[in-house]
Amino acid sequence: MSDRFDSFFGQALAILFALGLGALVILTVDESPMRVLVTLLNGAFGSPERIAGTLLQTTPILICGIAACISFRAGLFNIGIEGQLFMGGFWATWVGFSFNLPPALHLLLAMAAAVFAGMAWIAIPAFFRARYKTNEVVSTILANYVAILITSYLTINWFKRSGGQSETPPIFESAYLPELFSFSRLNWGLIIGLALALAVHFFFTRTSRGYAISEMGANPKFAEYGGIDIKKQTFLVLIASGAVGGMAGGVEALGVHHRFMEGFAPGFGFDGVIAALLANGNPIGTIFTALFFGALRSGSLLLEVDTTASREIITVIQALIILAVSAQITIRRKASDSTAGERRWKF
């Protein structure tokens, strides 16, 4: 327990350190750090609408974060969540506007299309990682660029709404993911995300298969001697991670935009990866880190209106936090001389 507390405390210190650095960066761009902080908080939590807005931004980050957690637990890096999200979003939208089906069935099929698209998009990198150890970090990053370009191509050259800009026709209402409140686009996606976090946490801590996969992430050789089929599990874990990444796209398409367009979801996949890293691959922790990043994102919308700082300052702060935490954890590890160095998903 005290180890856990230590870890939390160290993490908090690292975040404070990074925020201090962030304040310095804000000073260099001629803006007052205090004013930025107040604007951020006001933008994120200033009213019920803004809180709902924050949760709306949190949802995709959370689901993407869980996708990342699944791969980190097995010692793998799925950095291609952005691409899986674009693919999932596009194909969910396609099912949404191409067919006219009864409500529940339509939603279910569109969501299934998103999940399947995410799985399909990671299948080739996953196969080569499992079979030939082809570096999945590079292959999934490169696949992101391809996914974004291909979905734009499909949208503009094949499914462009007549008279519209670079976007598809809207989906039928039968495929809408229902909204939670009347005053916001906040929808059931958040509930899906929370349920997923609990389910993944349960899987890794309470089932023997989940335990085996965590073991594989912590110490692959040991796991292999223990009789785990590393190739098969590697493939399945990456596919599962891709499925959740695709689902994030489905939630965005069916719950928020109700269509697919260029620049569909800027950077949610990367934010999810960072949120999962900050939570050290723990799905429950990811709920809080995703909320933190969701608040930063939603607060930054007001930032651009009220101050001269750009919203990318948020990205800088996120990166600084990850750098600070990555150094801090290893300092602590050296101090306690633990052998956790084998854990690739740890910092």
Binding site: V29, F128, I141, I156, I274, I314, A327, T330, R344
Partner: protein, 331 residues
């Protein structure tokens, strides 16, 4: 036949050389870290800050050469942070590299807005690019002369660096030390080579060339800075480094392949093929090459895995990096 003629001619070769240069510079930079046994996914970010500060430096001083120096200094700063965290603090190299890429993206856009009040791109403001070099007496060489003259200086630098690096790895002590540290860290330690120092040096050398690549992108390849203008070249370089194992000659071949596919895809655009598909070509080529070559090198992978397993069972050394990370960097 007419289509083929329109696609393949001297101008295509020239375009290939132009598009190869930036990725060649950054990939050669990455060869230092690859050879030293570091998986450096942060090339993209180093290139991006290199490009941004090259533009800032040029506007501030009026001299593109001083701009190049600024770009290099900025990339070196990122490289130093990378080395500090990865080598000294033993933080995870993938995490640190990705975070530095994100930092570079955010920082350049924030500073762009703070300094110029705009988003998107910087041009004008007295920004001048590097001058094109006209080689003397090339008129007599006909089309060949056309092919080798008239590029900006860093294009020549990129191609000259290939033999320089081959000599560096094979004929100099530092080059040998870098290779030993990457291939056999235990042996390096036994020989009294400081692994930490060598890894710092290779990270900084990498930053130097990545900064040069960025500066070339902003002052030679184009004369402007655009948001995320490195557009994945750093990641493609990492893909090339994986299948070339950091060997300069193989890097050159890989980069020429990308330069060619890039130049060809720009041509295809003139034939009326959607620009989205055309833009995806270089990334697809990178992916296909990565997969195809990892399929081919499979026996070696198995050998290495067996060897590393044997090593892990026989000696427990603190200096050996985590097995999983090492395997991933050299599939």
């Amino acid at each position: 036949m007419e289509v083929l003629e329109r696609l393949l001619n001297v101008t295509l070769v020239i375009a290939t050389i132009r598009t190869t240069a930036p990725i060649l510079l950054v990939a050669l930079g990455g060869s230092f870290t690859t050879k030293a046994g570091i998986f450096n996914i942060g090339l993209e970010g180093q290139m991006l800050v290199g490009a941004f500060f090259a533009v800032i430096g040029t506007i501030a001083t009026g001299s593109p050469w001083l701009g190049v120096l600024c770009g290099i200094a900025a990339a070196l700063t990122l490289a130093l942070i990378f080395a500090l965290l990865v080598v000294s603090f033993k933080a995870n190299e993938v995490v640190v590299g990705l975070a530095l890429n994100i930092l570079a993206g955010g920082l350049t856009v924030s500073l762009m807005k703070a300094i110029f009040g705009t988003r998107g791109s910087i041009f004008g403001h007295g920004l001048v690019g590097l001058p094109a070099l006209k080689l003397p007496n090339v008129k007599d060489l006909g089309w060949f002369g056309q092919m080798i003259s008239g590029y900006t200086p860093l294009v020549y630098a990129a191609f000259i660096l290939v033999p320089v690096l081959i000599l560096f790895y094979n004929r100099t002590r530092l080059g040998l030390y870098i290779r030993v540290v990457g291939e056999k860290p235990e042996a390096a330690e036994a020989l009294g080579i400081s692994i930490t120092r060598i890894r710092y040096v290779s990270s900084l050398l990498c930053g130097l060339l990545a900064g040069l690549a960025g500066a070339h992108l902003a002052l030679g390849y184009t004369t402007m800075f655009t948001e995320n203008m490195s557009s994945g070249r750093g990641f493609m370089a990492v893909a090339i480094l994986i299948f070339s194992n950091g060997d300069p000659l193989k890097i050159l071949l890989g980069c020429l392949l990308f330069g060619f596919s890039d130049a060809l895809s720009l041509r295809l655009q003139t034939l009326g093929i959607s620009s989205y598909l055309v833009l995806a070509v270089p990334y697809l080529v990178a992916l296909i090459a990565l997969f195809a070559l990892s399929y081919r090198s499979r026996p070696r992978v198995i050998q290495e895995t067996l060897a590393s397993m044997g090593r892990a069972l026989s000696v427990k050394s603190n200096t050996v990096k985590p097995a999983a990370a090492t395997d991933a960097s050299k599939p």
